[in-house]
């Protein structure tokens, strides 16, 4: 029997008042951070926020669309590279940012059409997306030679593009965003994406998407063209990942083939697993927690970071399958059931 997890209502219900309060509080906390923290902290937090966009992209697709794409990094990397190449060619960043969202979506539309309309089963979907990101990685890595130029920009293979331009203010291209500006932008984008995806789930599209995750055959028999909804979800997720990639390029002034690689793809899964895929806020927390841990371990001299990450992943899968946040809710639910059960026994007949 399905145990209802505390604080986890079915996604189709409009968010309650407390949720809006929470989202506002979250936004307020983020936006006032520059008052309390120095610029180095902001810089690392910006990285977490940008990566959280990637985690959101995956958790939306996996948690609500039921599609586990190991290759969200493909769109992340594509977004980053598109931004870098376009911005360097055009000397203008607003358009580059838009293209960096649209191009991954187009790519996802083609790839998704190929897979989803081909009725490729779940596990193969995961594998193909992984293979795609690996192909892109290999492809990009093989562009070290000086013949690989897009417009006036060398792709630079292994080395990536370390001259990725800072973002300009759209209405005044002479002003470039500094570290704290990028932080604000990332925070706003993350909150908007989070709220946007959450609200998307209560639209007709969102509710049908969730129904497909729950029972695809039933949705098809009712008359929904499930492939269309899945494809659209895939495309939206790709856009979010592309945005994340472009912002990551803005954050570090760098894009490189590592954005596509297996390790990066693994990390995304770890974030979402740790945070719990049954919510959208969980993976954001998961990203911040895991990335902070990785950063912190890197300065602690404890030895191999991968050793610790490996243990984290194994423990999460073995003991907290729902992810940390929902696990807390699950324990609360069991406690509540136990308590109410006890009360029922005590109550007079």
């Amino acid at each position: 029997m399905a145990l209802r997890i505390v604080g986890l209502s079915p996604p189709s219900q409009p968010p309650r008042a407390w949720w809006w309060g929470f989202a506002a509080l979250f936004a307020a906390f983020l936006l006032t951070m520059p008052i309390y923290f120095d610029i180095a902290v902001l810089f690392s937090v910006t990285n977490y926020l940008v990566l959280a966009l990637l985690a959101l992209s995956m958790s939306f697709l996996w948690g609500y669309g039921g599609m586990l794409s190991f290759g969200q990094t493909a769109f992340f990397g594509l977004g980053g590279y598109t931004y870098a190449v376009m911005a360097l060619n055009l000397h203008e960043t607003t358009g580059a940012m838009i293209v960096a969202i649209v191009l991954p979506m187009l790519f996802a539309a083609v790839l998704g059409y190929f897979m989803i309309y081909g009725r490729i089963s779940d596990i193969y979907f995961s594998v193909i997306t992984l293979v795609v990101t690996l192909i892109l990685e290999k492809g990009i890595r093989a562009t070290s030679g000086d013949q690989y130029v897009v417009g006036s920009v060398r792709l630079n293979g292994q080395n990536g593009i370390p001259t990725t331009p800072a973002l300009q203010v759209p209405w005044n291209p002479k002003v470039q965003l500094e570290i704290d500006d990028v932080f604000y932008l990332a925070a706003i984008l993350l909150v908007l994406t989070y709220v946007g995806l959450r609200l998307l789930l209560i639209t007709r599209f969102g509710r049908i998407l969730v129904s497909i995750r729950d029972n695809e055959r039933r949705s098809a028999l009712l008359g929904y063209d499930t492939r269309r909804y899945k494809l659209l979800a895939f495309v939206i997720a790709a856009g979010v990942a592309g945005l994340g990639g472009a912002m990551w390029g803005v954050w570090g002034n760098f894009v490189g083939p590592n954005m596509f690689n297996l390790g990066q793809a693994a990390q995304v899964v770890i974030w979402v697993i740790v945070g719990g895929k049954s919510t959208l806020i969980g993976p954001i927390g998961g990203t911040i927690a895991v990335q902070y841990l990785t950063d912190w371990l890197g300065t602690q001299g404890v030895g191999q970071v991968s050793l610790v990450l490996g243990i984290v992943l194994m423990v999460m899968v073995m003991l907290f399958q729902q992810g940390l946040l929902p696990s807390v809710g699950l324990i609360a639910a069991m406690a509540r059931d136990a308590l109410s059960g006890a009360r029922r026994h005590r109550a007079p007949p």
Binding site: I128, L307, G310
Partner: protein
Amino acid sequence: MDDVAIYAYQIGLSFAIFILISLGLAVIFGMMRVINLAQGEFLMLGAYFCTLITKAGVDLWISFFLAALAVGVFGMIVERVMIRYLYGRILDTLLATWGLSLFLVGGVTTIFGPQSESVAATLGQVTVGAFGISLYNLVVIAFALALLLGTYALWRYTRFGLVVRGTMQNPAMAAALGVNTGLVYTLTFGFGSAITGLAGAVLAPIVGAAPPMGVFFIGKAFITVISAGHLPLLGTISASGLYGVIDGVVAYISSSVIGEMTVLFVAIILLRLLPLGITGRMRRGI
């Protein structure tokens, strides 16, 4: 004539490497529906055991089998401690073994350091026209074929093979017939691990042993096994054959990057056309 021989050699070696890196994974995935992402690290462990045992003064050929045994035992421990709690949950297993993979890379780096270890198998070379061919590479091809035949024979002709196949098809029925299904799972996982360990050991004299080596192979192994479909042996042979030919020929006439990318590309097309893999439509066989 030289050309024919050299093509045959390139294809043979490429095929053998595909077989070696994916057969263990195929047994584990095909029989148990467990995707072991730490398979590359099992390969790495095999290579490390081989170099360590050889350094302790044991003959290379014996150390291959000791390495296989060691990795097999390790695999059984992993099955007992971790995998068995995750049966039927294909994604969770995948994630847990991914964790194991990271853990092993970190652990081996901590213990043995980051540099690669090596073991020499200088058997010399044979000459075909203008070309020299490393004799050891021919041994590798022979090993791959032997491993295939051995696995086939074990599955097809022994009681163990029959019990395993029966258990995988219908565990409840097997249990009712008095089969200790838990033990069968452990042994099958151990067997798959041992094959992988052996593969790592056999490849060690060519590629050495280094902590990140698993990552170099896991992608290819994964793709081979997924393309294979649900019949582990027949599927692996066909997929390895296909990719071996493509990789061998393309890598020889152009470059190894193009070779690998062609393989990945063909894999995608193949899965689009045959969503259940090469053997997806076949009903019988192993």
